[in-house]
């Protein structure tokens, strides 16, 4: 909610360059973002900030993406929260696990910026302000 200053999107990513790029494209699409770089921080932020969506990397320090996803799905308050998984691990096995754990969508790195924006818009039911040209 804008009033309380809560972000639209929680970005969880430990690679600084990728984090910078994600922040840029999502903010550019008109959403507010909040970023954390490890699993622990992600769990805290989900509970505290009540984002509309979590963009979640899998390879994370402290607690990995799957663990974070599990915690989110276990909590009643965040049970329905959309979670978009972004990962450099392109294996089928990981997709399967993500789906089973209740991931809303799954995008493999390296991604096209437009794919990420579209996926987020779909999941939160809110079109981007300016759709970047391909």
């Amino acid at each position: 909610m804008m009033a309380s200053g809560s972000p639209d999107i929680l970005i969880v990513e430990d690679e600084p360059a990728i984090l910078t790029s994600l922040e840029f494209i999502l903010q550019h699409a008109g959403w507010k973002t909040h970023s954390v770089t490890d699993g622990e921080a992600a769990i805290k932020s989900v509970q505290a900030g009540q984002p509309k969506i979590v963009v979640l990397d899998l390879m994370l320090p402290r607690r990995n993406g799957f663990e974070v996803l599990k915690v989110i799905r276990r909590q009643p308050a965040t049970k329905e929260l959309p979670v978009l998984i972004l990962t450099a691990k392109g294996q089928q096995q990981d997709k399967q696990t993500a789906r089973e754990l209740g991931a809303s969508d799954f995008i493999t790195k390296p991604y096209a910026n437009t794919d990420v924006v579209e996926a987020v818009a779909n999941l939160i039911g809110q079109p981007p302000k300016a759709v970047p040209a391909p």
Partner: protein
């Protein structure tokens, strides 16, 4: 003068006592009780059946006449038991294995189970032992007369009464032996009761003789010294020169042979033996017994000669000395002792001879013409065996009596015994050949025994009748048909020789020569060869290594019928039940060769090996195989063995190959999995910078309105990530080359301190960026290591930058130290440590940090990141320098506080 009633009453009471003892012993043995019965002690005492009335009475006579000669009679057995116990053990082992029933059975079994040999030995034994039996009869009847008439002049020519008395004694002894020796229903069992009685008699005669000895030496002679002092006065020579000569040696040899060859000794030593280990005890205890029983012989002889009137019979000194001094109780005891000596010999000898006669003469005859012996179908031979044994015992004693009657003029006891000794000594060459000479043949044994027997009979046995027949007296003086070189006691002109030495010399020489020569000229048949091996190599065989090289087969039914004929229905049924594991015998089923071999052994235990062999031959078809066939069978067996060994070997090889393949397969699978993981990790590592590059280039492409500062920053990121990608690919290729073991450089002596300085310099941008202080701590100054300068710098740079990158301490530092470690088996090592005060590495990760793509928690403040291959590469580099890279505990610090990496390198000597 002791009353006849008392003497006979005591004798009869003594006999009854023996009966009771035998009865109880038999009963205990049947019940499995009576441990004492099967003890080495009883075995040893039973062996002393060797000491007959010849020992009891005759040794004293011998001592009185011939000085120390009597001692040789004890020396021979002593030498055998102490010096040849292993030979006796071999005899016993064979006896047990082959179920030997007598000495005739032993020799015949060894030489192809020859019937002729068994018969010859039986006849020889009967003839040879007859004088010995006569000796006992003479001793008992003479001692009876002495104790009844109290006359010291017992040696005076006998009257007809003496012959009558001897006949009475013989008849009583026959009855006695029959009652003792043939009470058992099963003819082939051991005679526990008899053995117990014999052992008891051994004690009685021992004590009796010692009692007389003590009385004579200490009661009459005033001690040993005083007794021996009279020796010269009475004409007994105690010095060596007059005692030890050819005759003494001959008697020693004869007595040594006798302890092995006498049928009664063989009976006790081998047939009645319960356990071959008893020999251990007997080998010292029996000589001790002999020593004890001979210790008073000479003193009694001396005192008898000294105190009794001239002409007193020295053979009766043991009795006449106590009688002369009115020691009637002692005299009676001595009489019982003498009686014991005689009866024990007669009982065992007659049992042994009767077994031989019935097994080797009666049974073969009965098998050939059953009707003659009243044998009916299905009726066992047990009754026939017992009857024939009883008749044999009586016959043996009757023969003894005849001999006594015919030779009654020839006085002393000892010479009669020696004739017997010389007779049975003829068995010795055959027995020794049986035990040790595999190539000795049945013809050789027959020839040796026959020739020896003839020589003995002509030179020793025949002359003993000298006084009874004028024809023999003539023969002795002039030779047959006046041919002087054939005179029995001066054969082939061998003059001036003691008759005994002369006889033993010729008979044993001829015997041995015949055995050896004929054995070389002839060959054993198959059975003979197999038996030879069974005997000579008895200790090499395992418990049940029994040949069944009979190709033979026979219907079980026929075998059962035959066995019933010999052993009776009950015993036979038991045997067949044991062997076939079934109560019902199928009519036409054939018995296995193994079963037949076992049956033969069982029968041999009852009727002797030769008879059993003949008996089976009647039923079993196919006979025995020829030697060639046996060899062929053995060859085939050998081939099968070899073939199966080869198969086994192949199987083993296959198994080992399979194991190797499995291991290789597992390894491959592991490698494949590692490769998959590696690819997945590489892909992840590549995707990360690729993501940034792609994302920022898209941003730059789509957002033309970016301010220049932002644009510059994004382009910088793209560049950095491209560099990172390049170095990642370089490192992957590098690691791959290292892991493949490619020789990328050559090691050479370098100065490690220079490399450290260079690395610190290269790392300056990073360390300054992280404000990490690099300290050079205590280190070895002048040293060279075997390494490559650039590559070792790569390792050091990796370690320093890691220490800087991950260090989040307030005042971060990294310290570099070095020291030398002495090595015993290889060059000394230089250890260089890189210690930091960062977060350290938890023990859980101490092994995984060297894995590819492992990374510690990055300092969030920095964008610096490695490929995760640095430590893996460093480790590979060091291993190619014969060094190592390990996570170490910092010196003086504690684990968990900061990280400490130790680089070890071989020092250049």
């Amino acid at each position: 003068m002791i009353s006849g009633t008392l003497v006979f009453g005591t004798s009869i009471a003594y006999v009854i006592l023996l009966f009771i003892l035998a009865y109880i012993s038999d009963k205990n043995a049947r019940l499995g009780k009576g441990k004492l019965l099967r003890s080495p002690l009883v075995f040893t005492l039973a062996l002393s059946v060797y000491c007959t009335s010849w020992t009891f009475y005759g040794a004293v006579g011998s001592a009185a006449r011939n000085g120390l000669e009597f001692f040789a009679i004890y020396l021979g057995p002593t030498l055998v038991f102490i010096g040849w116990w292993f030979g006796l053990r071999k005899l016993i082992r064979i006896g047990h294995k082959q179920r030997i029933t007598s000495i005739a059975d032993f020799v015949s079994s060894r030489f192809g189970k020859s019937e002729r040999l068994a018969i010859l030995i039986t006849i020889m034994a009967v003839v040879g032992i007859t004088p010995y039996i006569a000796l006992q009869l003479k001793a008992i009847s003479t001692s009876l007369r002495v104790i009844l008439t109290d006359s010291p002049n017992a040696a005076l020519p006998q009257t007809g009464d003496e012959v009558g008395l001897a006949f009475g004694v013989a008849a009583a002894m026959a009855l006695f032996s029959v009652m003792f020796g043939t009470r058992n229903i099963n003819a082939n069992e051991q005679h526990h009761g008899v053995v117990a009685a014999i052992a008891f008699e051994a004690i009685i005669k021992f004590i009796a003789l010692i009692a007389v000895g003590l009385f004579v030496v200490f009661g009459l002679g005033g001690g040993f010294e005083a007794t021996y002092a009279r020796a010269e006065d009475v004409g007994v020579a105690l010095d060596a020169s007059s005692n030890f000569g050819p005759r003494w040696i001959t008697i020693t040899i004869l007595s040594a042979a006798a302890i092995i060859c006498l049928p009664r000794q063989f009976q006790i030593t081998v047939v009645e033996n319960a356990n071959e280990n008893h020999l251990r005890t007997a080998s010292w205890a029996f000589p001790l017994y002999l020593f004890g029983i001979s210790i008073f012989t000479m003193p009694i002889a001396i005192m008898g000669l000294s105190l009794l009137p001239a002409g007193a019979d020295p053979d009766m000194f043991v009795l006449t000395l106590p009688l002369a001094y009115d020691q009637q109780a002692l005299a009676l005891f001595a009489f019982i002792g003498g009686f014991s000596s005689a009866t024990s010999m007669i009982i065992i000898a007659s049992i042994a001879l009767s077994i031989m006669i019935s097994n080797h003469i009666v049974v073969p005859l009965a098998l050939r013409s059953p009707k003659l012996f009243g044998l009916k179908q299905g009726q066992g031979m047990t009754r026939l065996l017992l009857t024939s044994r009883r008749v044999s015992i009586s016959a043996v004693l009757f023969l003894g009596f005849i001999y006594f009657w015919l030779t009654s003029g020839s006085g002393a006891l000892a010479p009669i015994g020696l004739i017997s000794f010389a007779g049975v000594a003829q068995f010795l060459p055959a027995i020794l050949a049986a035990l040790y000479w595999r190539d000795a043949t049945v013809s050789g044994a027959l020839a040796g025994l026959l020739v020896g027997f003839i020589f003995w009979a002509y030179t020793s046995f025949l002359p003993s009748f000298g006084t009874a027949s004028p024809f023999i007296t003539d023969l002795l003086l002039y030779g047959p048909w006046q041919m002087e070189f054939l005179r029995p006691q001066v054969l082939f002109g061998l003059e001036n020789m003691d008759p005994l030495v002369h006889s033993v010399f010729w008979s044993l020489l001829a015997n041995s020569l015949a055995l050896i020569v004929v054995s070389f000229l002839t060959q054993n048949n198959t059975v003979g060869q197999l038996q030879a091996a069974q005997f000579v190599d008895v200790f090499k065989q395992t418990e049940n290594s029994q040949y069944s090289f009979t190709r033979s087969s026979a219907p079980l039914n026929d075998l059962l019928n035959m066995t019933q004929r010999v052993l009776g229905t009950e015993h036979a049924g038991r045997l067949f039940a044991t062997y076939s594991n079934s109560d019902r015998i199928e009519q036409n089923k054939d018995a296995s060769p193994h079963f037949i071999a076992n049956l033969e052994k069982e029968l041999a235990g009852s009727i002797g090996a030769a008879s059993a062999h003949v008996l089976l031959g009647q039923v079993v078809s196919g006979d025995t195989v020829t030697l060639e066939e046996v060899m062929q069978m053995a060859d085939e067996t050998q081939q099968i063995l070899e073939y199966s060994q080869r198969l086994e070997q192949t199987a083993t090889e296959l198994q080992s190959t399979t194991r190797q393949l499995q291991a290789a397969n597992n390894q491959l699978r592991q490698l494949d999995q590692q490769k998959d993981e590696f690819l997945s990790q590489v892909s992840h590592e590549v995707r990360t910078p690729m993501t940034a590059i792609r994302s920022f280039s898209e941003i730059l492409l789509t957002n033309k309105d970016l301010d220049s500062q932002q644009k510059q920053s994004f382009i910088n990121t793209i560049h950095e990530e491209s560099m990172r990608l390049t170095s990642l690919l370089d490192e992957i290729l590098d690691l791959n080359a290292l892991e493949r073991g490619e020789q990328l450089w050559t090691n050479e002596p370098i100065d490690p301190n220079k490399a450290i300085a260079r690395s610190i310099q290269v790392c300056t941008p990073i360390t300054e960026q992280h404000q990490v202080e690099v300290r050079l701590g205590e280190h070895i100054r002048h040293v060279q290591v075997e390494a490559n300068f650039d590559r070792i710098c790569q390792v050091f740079i990796n370690l320093i930058s890691n220490a800087a990158k991950y260090n989040n301490a307030a005042k971060p530092f990294v310290e570099i130290t070095s020291e030398i470690t002495k090595m015993s088996d290889k060059p000394d090592q230089l250890t260089i440590r890189f210690t930091d005060n960062g977060p350290g590495i938890s023990s859980a990760h101490s092994n995984t940090i060297f894995d590819k793509f492992w990374r510690g928690a990055r300092n969030p403040d920095t964008a610096q990141s490695g490929s995760g291959l640095g430590l893996a590469i460093s480790r590979e580099i060091l291993s190619q320098m014969n060094g190592s890279l390990e996570l170490d505990v910092p010196k003086g610090g504690k684990a968990g506080m900061g990280a400490c990496f130790a680089v070890r390198l071989p020092v250049h000597m």
